[in-house]
C-alpha cells in the first residue's frame, strides 16, 4: 500500500470506517508483528493484538499523515512490548533476564522454525540476535520502513544514535558467518513476491 492509498484509508478509518481500518491493518500488521517477534519473541502475536486493540480505540482521535501514523502505531507497539516484558519479569514462575541475550534467545517460534524455517524467519532470528538497540533500529528502518527521524521518534532517541545503532547492527550482521554463507547459495532462490515454499 503506497502512501496515497494509506492516506485515504487512514482518513476514512479516522472517520470510523471499519473497512478502511481493516485495510490499514492488512498494510501494517505484518511489519508490526515482525518487529514484535524480534523484540519480544514468542509473545509477539499477543502483543500485536494488544497494539491493535489500542489503535482501534484511539484511532478516531488520531490526526496526521501516513508517516505520522506509522510512528504512532509503532510507538504503541513498542509500549505494549515494554509492558509485556514487565509482565513477564513479574511472573515468578518464569524468571527471565531481559537482557540483550534474552531477546536473542526468544527469537521466532521454535515450533514454527521446525516446520517451516523460511528465509524471513531466519532473517528475523538473525536480527534478534543483535543487541536490542541495534535490532530495533534495523527492524524499524528495514521492516517498518521508517526513516531515521521517525525511528528516533519511536525509540525516543536522537537521530544520530539511531544511525549509529543501525550501522553497527548491519556491520555485525554482515560479519556473521551464517549471513556470509547464505549469500552464495540462497540469493538466487529468494523470491520476494511470494511466500517461501515449505522447507526452503
Amino acid at each position: 500500500m503506497d502512501d496515497a492509498e494509506l492516506a485515504a484509508a487512514l482518513a476514512a478509518a479516522v472517520q470510523g470506517d471499519a473497512g478502511a481500518f481493516a485495510a490499514l491493518w492488512r498494510a501494517m500488521q505484518p511489519a508490526v508483528l515482525r518487529y514484535l517477534r524480534v523484540i519480544v519473541g514468542e509473545t509477539a502475536e499477543d502483543v500485536a493484538s494488544e497494539t491493535w486493540l489500542q489503535a482501534a480505540r484511539d484511532l478516531r482521535r488520531f490526526s496526521g499523515a501516513p508517516p505520522a501514523f506509522r510512528v504512532w502505531l509503532f510507538t504503541i507497539a513498542r509500549n505494549r512490548a515494554i509492558d509485556d516484558r514487565r509482565r513477564v519479569q513479574r511472573r515468578p514462575e518464569e524468571p527471565r533476564e531481559l537482557s540483550d541475550r534474552d531477546v536473542a534467545s526468544t527469537a521466532p517460534d521454535v515450533a514454527q522454525d521446525v516446520i517451516q524455517q523460511s528465509d524471513t524467519d531466519w532473517a528475523l532470528s538473525m536480527i534478534a540476535s543483535l543487541p536490542k538497540d541495534q535490532a530495533e533500529a534495523v527492524m524499524l528502518r528495514v521492516v517498518a520502513g521508517l526513516d531515521v527521524a521517525q525511528t528516533a521518534q519511536v525509540l525516543g532517541k536522537r537521530p544520530g544514535a539511531v544511525r549509529i545503532a543501525a550501522m553497527r547492527g548491519l556491520r555485525r550482521l554482515a560479519g556473521h558467518a551464517e549471513v556470509q554463507a547464505r549469500r552464495a547459495e540462497r540469493r538466487p532462490s529468494l523470491d520476494l513476491n511470494s511466500p517461501r515454499p515449505k522447507g526452503v
Binding site: A22, L59, V138, R141, M167, P195
Partner: protein, 264 residues
Amino acid sequence: MRLWHALTDAMGTSRLRRIGSREAERLLTADPDSSAYPGLSHLLAAAAAPPRPDELSGLSRAVAAFEAAGRDDQPTVSAVRVRRVLARSVAVKVAAGVAVVLFGGTAWAAETGNLPGRSQQHAHDLFSVLGVPARSAAPTSAPPTTPPANIPSPTPASTPIATPSPSVRSTAPGTTSPATPGLCRSWLARQKNPKHKPINVQTLRKLAAAAGGEEHIAAFCTALLAPGPAPSATASPGAAVPTPSHPGNGKGHGKPTPKPHQKA
C-alpha cells in the same frame, strides 16, 4: 597477515570493507541487488518480504474492537468529561480549603491584633468592618498594671447592642495614630507612678510628635483621655465619632470584656 585474518574472524567482523554510515543507509533503503554485501542484502530483503498468510490472523478481532470503540466513543468521551469535572471540583475544594486555612489564620491573627504592625494596619484598612483592630502599641506599651481608673468601660464600639456611652477614649482621634491613647495611658501612668515601667524613647518621640512638643504631652494626653468632646485641637469634627473601625478594646487592658467578641 594470517594472524590478522584469524583475529578478524574471531571477532566476527567482516573481511569485507567495513560498512560506513553511507553504505548502511544504502543497505537500509535501497535495492538489495546493488549491494556490495549480498548476504546482508538477502537477509534484509527476507526480513521485509511480503507477508505470509499466518502473519495475517487477528484481523477480525481488531476490526471488532474498532467497531466497539466507535459505539463506545460517546460514553467514553462523556466519561472523560465527567472525570475532568470531578477533578476540577476536587481541585476547587482543595484550593478553597487551603485559602480558608491561610486566610482564616491571617484573619484570626488580624482580629486578635497579632499581626506585625504594618500588616495589622493593612488588615485593618481592608477589614475594619469585620472588627479588625488597627495597629496598636498597647500590647507592648500599655502593661496590664495600668491603673483601672484611666480606663473607661471597654465596651467595643462595634458591638451592636447597648453601648452605654461610646467614649472618646475608646476611639482614637482621626489625626493621631490609633495607638496614641495607649501611649498616653502609659505615659500618664509613668507620671503618676514612678515605679511604672519607663517610657521608651520611641514612644516618647511619637507622643511628642502628636502633642506638638514634649512639654505639651501632659496636656495633650489628659485631653485625649478625658471623657467628653474631641480632645485634640486638630481633630476634625467627626474624629470623635466612634466607628466600628476602632473597637478600642486593644488587647491587654487587663479587663474582662463584657461579651465575647463576635465577628461580624
